[in-house]
Symmetry: D2
Subunit: 330 residues, 4 copies
Amino acid sequence: MKLGIIGLGRMGANIARRLMDAGHECVVFDANADTVATLGDDGAQTAASLDELVEALPAPRAIWLMLPAGDVTEQTVETLKGKLSSDDVLIDGGNANFKDDVRRAESLQEAGIHYIDVGVSGGVWGRERGYCLMIGGEQNVVDRLDPIFETLAPGVGDIDKTPRRETRDPRVEQGYMYCGPNGSGHFVKMVHNGIEYGMMQAFAEGFDILKSRGKEELPDNMRYDLELADIAELWRRGSVISSWLLDLTSIALAEDNDLEQYTGKVNDSGEGRWTIEAAIEEAVPANVLSAALFTRFRSRSDNTYGEKLLSAMRKQFGGHVETPPDASSK
Amino acid sequence: MKLGIIGLGRMGANIARRLMDAGHECVVFDANADTVATLGDDGAQTAASLDELVEALPAPRAIWLMLPAGDVTEQTVETLKGKLSSDDVLIDGGNANFKDDVRRAESLQEAGIHYIDVGVSGGVWGRERGYCLMIGGEQNVVDRLDPIFETLAPGVGDIDKTPRRETRDPRVEQGYMYCGPNGSGHFVKMVHNGIEYGMMQAFAEGFDILKSRGKEELPDNMRYDLELADIAELWRRGSVISSWLLDLTSIALAEDNDLEQYTGKVNDSGEGRWTIEAAIEEAVPANVLSAALFTRFRSRSDNTYGEKLLSAMRKQFGGHVETPPDASSK
Amino acid sequence: MKLGIIGLGRMGANIARRLMDAGHECVVFDANADTVATLGDDGAQTAASLDELVEALPAPRAIWLMLPAGDVTEQTVETLKGKLSSDDVLIDGGNANFKDDVRRAESLQEAGIHYIDVGVSGGVWGRERGYCLMIGGEQNVVDRLDPIFETLAPGVGDIDKTPRRETRDPRVEQGYMYCGPNGSGHFVKMVHNGIEYGMMQAFAEGFDILKSRGKEELPDNMRYDLELADIAELWRRGSVISSWLLDLTSIALAEDNDLEQYTGKVNDSGEGRWTIEAAIEEAVPANVLSAALFTRFRSRSDNTYGEKLLSAMRKQFGGHVETPPDASSK
Amino acid sequence: MKLGIIGLGRMGANIARRLMDAGHECVVFDANADTVATLGDDGAQTAASLDELVEALPAPRAIWLMLPAGDVTEQTVETLKGKLSSDDVLIDGGNANFKDDVRRAESLQEAGIHYIDVGVSGGVWGRERGYCLMIGGEQNVVDRLDPIFETLAPGVGDIDKTPRRETRDPRVEQGYMYCGPNGSGHFVKMVHNGIEYGMMQAFAEGFDILKSRGKEELPDNMRYDLELADIAELWRRGSVISSWLLDLTSIALAEDNDLEQYTGKVNDSGEGRWTIEAAIEEAVPANVLSAALFTRFRSRSDNTYGEKLLSAMRKQFGGHVETPPDASSK
């Protein structure tokens, strides 16, 4: 197939390359002319503007947006709405909020343009491992794009087969899935990231407890200096918590058991936040997923106003003056 | 009554003074001779050693320990076990773990010595407001000490009367209560402190949300610079959350809305921790009380090893390099 | 002053009565003609329609809405926008989301109509105790309505004076406060309710731990059957956690220590949810406030799908078959 | 090697079989004579009593206990202390608290008996996949038992090699690890299980949010009926959260998307609880691991006393009477 790709950051560029490797044709555009040129060297047809990109594609067109969620995506969708024709398809592979998908799909539908939302997991490993794709929109339009999705997905690989799936959609085992109407692709991806936050935080707390077992204040016969890099590696084999995140932990700890190159000031993206908002809309308890998000918030700040208020109350009712940080670090 | 008091820190000294103000006699001892002398000036009979204190009291003796929980209390109880006689009473007014009470009571019982555990709430305001007392041990021994407890308690005061309490123990309205067998006094006090942590944290989070509403990143028409000292004062009147902790918050914020004198590195005492352990023993969910405790732990440390591990995993799977603290503080 | 009041539920009717008791004139309307008639008997001027109410008020008019947040309020505001004149004031005393306030205020401003948002705390006790008022909007318009707010507020009462407030706005001590631009009144009220959820949950967990200390599985010498009604009453005196919520707990437990009349299926209103959303917008950790909300969600459902998934995973990796509820209720 | 095994439950029996398959000799005992006989049929040397088992082993003996943690293990260790000789080794492969290990090791040392604690992960899949082993005790004694550990461990398998491990202990890649002094083996296993609880709960919450997206109360264009069995399978391929727990989730959901055979009343073992206690001892925040534990507590009970107290407070301050479960289940 011939596909337009707008946004050639790490993800967009690698998606283009994986598609071209499999024989698809890509017409690419990015605000940064250098990245466009680089993709041109890799075999893509380059466009110097959105207009050029639209012209270079045969009708009905298919254009994949791989832009930062929010204003940039919004403006590009608005602009393209004026340039595309009936039955063209716009695919958003970025990290949009599913509610924006629903709104955009309804707006584009007025002009007969189709909108497909695709949640993409895979990160820097995606070009090699393939991308796990969660797809929402009109089913017949999704079917039309099947060659693209099939190429991007990881494929069956050597992962153990799950029993009793004989009568189910075989595309799922290839690593891509039609999830339902507009927004459902990004909704499923959003929850994926929410779970990711929770799993990461479970590992973070566990390794913190292991690490802190060496604290001097603990009694001699119950203090252990544990070799965390080895523990991570060990758990990859036969344990209940073996997982890709544990594989990555083992790699990182083999490099540096003390993780001294990291500040521990952890960013969060929209998906972690929207997952909590979705849980609240649905009245579903999400204690773990929210605690994972809140840990990231706290990691990025100094002592909070709220913590100072705790100190202030303690002083008022008990005359406690908090000892300085060094003295109280037990 | 004549009462021995061992441990003349802020709490012990004020307890002695409140008792003497009401006509009780106190024989006092402390490892620090100066504080003993000060209490002597205030009218107490001073003792230069545990032996002197024991000799100065008529049988059956009553001795109140007001010492740091843990080793100091443990050793003093052990020492006194060898010096006291059958039917003497040892009262621990410190912050002991209720399991230590049970063990100590059983040990002293071998020598015929009674043990009473008293949870004491009141802090620096206690001498004036009185102390709220939660008492565990043998009921007839507790009854014997009633004049002491009655004096220390706040009394009925001008607090609104709760309906339908006519047939209940009138001592409760005076501010002291016989809770049950050994350990139950400190158990009830422990849970009191657990609740205190939770309430404090509820205020801390709420005021943090108010304060952070002024953050520059928020949209202009939904950003507010709120006057927190006024909000705290306002809520004291007619709101659902009016409470002594809110009164104290209002006092602290009237002094300094920005709480700049506080580090926000918040200590925790044993009770907050033991409350969670008790909840776990009982299989009771305690999400709020544990979150309150964990916030204090986190407030005292720099970025944790666990947070660094989050950064490390993010770098591995997504190539994310966490931006430095300044840039990510949104 | 002469004030229109629309919405005569428990809150609206009592607000009208408190105003009339103080000599203000009220013109009242409600979709339910019976409640209108009842207020007429109490001295209000009644209106049979919005038009009648608008006509009965002198310009510039002041109309207080006390309606369910959401669609009813939205439609009434829209309708009144077409009936009111420049410089009239619409006051929303309901539980609106502050973002709706901002939007409504901007919309009404086009017609020169002022909008004031008032967060009202006080519940069923408000007519007697007064209402704590948090007010957002244009300051000069708020000043114009001062006689209304002053009457509704609780007044100084016999609450202890907070030191160092001499130079601050004296209205705050009366129990009403100008918080800032549109939305800020409801924002402050929203956070108040968030804190309320957290405090309630702190008490709930604490009393659960006390109650569960009587569980048969616990060792004999560390099991206590505690008198919870007495403990609640005790803590009202001299303890750190004394509060209005504790007063109410004591009243409820004096009626029935076992709370058997309650299902424990606890509803939540919008404010608790919006508080978490605000915290997320501001990147403020809110572990306690969110846990309090999630407990309410869980209280209203049977075993969740998520819990069943835990059982399913346990069966898969460990062959565990969860024992039936009766056997595992330890 | 020749090894005694006491306790032939699922784990103990499969450990014996895996050892015998590799040519080790096992002398087995269990309180249940039938299971002993079954193992005898499988090639084990059977013992009718502890004495017989001890006699059947050559000095220095090695005996593996695979018994329920707590009283049974405690008594068996005490009994064997009287029957074993200097330089014999007792290995506890059960789920003991690491503090019990420390105490037992010190007690056995008086008689010259060695004690080794082994945390064993692998569950019902262990005989086939091998067991991940975390080992604590005297290093030279652990070395002596190396042939046993090497056989039980999963081996290198076809798991991707972690870079930069060339200079590290090669046994770790085989799936067994010497962790440190007594207790450290069970400590590491305990934290493993704590992490497991957290990861499971992350999945549970995520799938709950997916499932609840079909709730009727949600707006039509933002409600999705998602195929959860397919989503679990999809995420196994190329996603960040791929893991063994996700593999098992996919298996379980392929059997029954609705999980109707499960009550969702989820048990917890000691390790999850002890992990929180360890975190508290170390002053490490563990919001996610504790929330995972508390969810299990709540899953096993009806509406709690604490929830009823919330209802009671709401009635007191707001006149709210909670609607019955059916009506409030949004």
